[in-house]
């Protein structure tokens, strides 16, 4: 199994190296810098403290869950991490580098990619082109080269097509590559969104309620996909989810938010049995 994993990782790494600078191959040292370290993150909207003193440490390759009742501030945390909102206080370190207050596109280039609670695909573009937009910053040629159809255009486009098809086949979407994205069934749209995020070659993947609107079968399949992504790309994943089956099934650690504050965090099984968590969800 271990050897198997390694070979998968190797191919993943090799492709990445071809695509960009490429990060250090999957080290899982205990003393290594955590992929994401958030300290004392806060933001207020008007008088409301939407997120108050949020802390989290996510190690490399971890599958981390962020849960909490509706309105607890989970998506706000995602928006803070990806630069949609600027935090009032706190620092965000990605691989030890301070990315607090940077713009969304800069944060993506630093290595955080996300999906959305309500699917946001490029509806009129083909499935393939959706992923190719994700590859935008890793496979470059200038606009002029594109208009004049210089050799670099054909070369880079070919690379992009190959890489995009590779990603699509991971998600079993390669047969639908010519479809308009909006014509995909719901479950596949979710997968395409993950594929597009992965195309930006992130260090950390944020999934906002990936199982929302899915039936139990689709959810089960999605769990497999998320596990597979983690193995294949050696990815660190932080996900928001309400489906406790999914959370209990795949997350290693959890943080529970309630009214913008961290209620508790720790190993999944411990957290889910915590009296305070059950109270937060179900009331007294």
């Amino acid at each position: 199994m271990a050897a198997d994993n390694k070979s998968v990782k190797m191919t993943g790494g090799a492709v990445k190296n071809g695509a960009s600078s490429g990060q250090a191959a999957g080290t899982k040292d205990s003393g290594a810098v955590p992929t994401l370290e958030v300290k004392n993150l806060s933001i207020s909207f008007g008088g409301l403290k939407a997120v108050d003193g949020f802390n989290v440490v996510i190690g490399k390759g971890q599958l981390y869950g962020l849960i909490g009742p509706n309105g607890a501030g989970k998506t706000t945390v995602f928006n803070l991490l990806t630069g949609v909102y600027k935090p009032d206080t706190g620092t965000i370190l990605l691989d030890g580098k301070n990315i607090t207050g940077k713009k969304t596109i800069e944060i993506n280039q630093e290595g955080i990619a996300r999906t959305f609670q309500n699917i946001r695909l490029f509806k009129e573009l083909s499935v393939l082109d959706n992923v190719k937009v994700g590859l935008h910053n890793h496979h470059k040629y200038s606009t002029l080269e594109g208009i004049l159809r210089l050799p670099s255009f054909y070369k880079v486009e070919k690379e992009m097509n190959e890489r995009a098809m590779e990603l699509l086949s991971v998600f079993d979407l390669d047969k639908e590559c010519d479809y308009k994205a909006s014509n995909l069934p719901y479950g596949k749209q979710r997968k395409l969104e993950i594929a597009r995020a992965l195309a930006t070659d992130p260090k950390l993947l944020l999934l906002d309620e990936p199982a929302a609107g899915m039936n139990p079968n689709e959810t089960a399949e999605l769990m497999e996909t998320i596990r597979f992504v983690r193995e294949k790309f050696n990815m660190t994943i932080l996900l928001i989810e309400h489906d406790m089956k999914l959370v209990a099934g795949i997350c290693e650690r959890l943080t529970v938010l309630n009214f913008g504050q961290v209620l508790t965090q720790g190993e999944t099984s411990e957290v889910l049995n915590d009296r305070r968590v059950i109270t937060a969800y179900l009331g007294e």
């Binding site: 969304t104 996300r114 490029f122 009129e124 573009l125 393939l128 937009v133 935008h136 606009t143 010519d178």
Partner: protein, 353 residues
Amino acid sequence: MMKNKVRIQNAVTYGMVILFWAVIQIMDKTGHLSSLFKGLLVPLCMYAILAVSLNLTVGILGELSLGHAGFMCLGAFSGAFLTNCLETAVPSVGLRFFLALILGALVAGVFGLLIGIPVLRLKGDYLAIVTLAFGEIIKNLINVLYVGRDANGFHFSMKDTTSLGMDKETGVVLIKGAQGITGTPRAATFTIGILLLLLTLFIVLNLIHSRTGRAIMSIRDNRIAAESIGINITKYKLMAFSISAALAGMAGVLYAHSLSTLQASSNNFGYNKSILILVFVVLGGLGNMRGSIIAAMLLTALPELLRGLNDYRMLIYAIVLIVMTIFNSSPKAIELRSVVMSRLRGGAKKEVA
């Protein structure tokens, strides 16, 4: 697969334009063209270029702009100005026309960029209103602009010719306010128009089917998602907007060289013109360049060709507009069209791009 399909679609578009050129050439040689229609040929090309370029902003970038005539106006005046300025320095009319085309596109493109920086922060209706205003401002400013040249160099004024304060002997007024620019050589021919249309198509189609085009369309489809995967929204919006403006400027230069007198009147460059171009784009289909060309040519030629019917021609024009709208965008009509198409092609293809 997809790639080949795109290639075929593009080839059909180019082929259609070239075929149109060939047919007109043959008709011209055999004497089947009325003088009325001959006069329409350059405007046909001009409107087609304008429609394709506006489609880049409206259909591909997804922003509603009503200032397209303003950019055309800028191109027309800077181009005609250059042609008249260089009359002695560059005797060849063809070369001057060529330089004018480049300058016109450049000036319009730069203004597109400058106007785009504040304007593209707005969305939807607001953007439409502000671009409309900018188009009018450009037109009105040029309408009161006086430029002259004498031995001492250029003179500018916003009042009248006398306040230019030029040397009596050597002074020549180049732009005369509301009277505009006169004496531009009428160098624009149908063939040049078609060549420029092909150039426009080449630029726009290649742009769309490239990395840049995908980025632009991703902004149209979902700005937040595009940003989240590292697409520089501002850069690509401005790029699309200014390329669109530059091509409109080029069309303006073509227009200026088909008239002996160029005036910045409402008739030539007013918002009605902008809306007319938008009508071509909407009727041809958003993002559909071939449709833009067909709509522009059909709707430019129609009122003229129907001149014989006098009282009824605007009525017929209006009916054609309605029918085209229904044909293009009503779900039932699209369904019917795809059924007919798939029958024609033996069920091989499902969708018309």
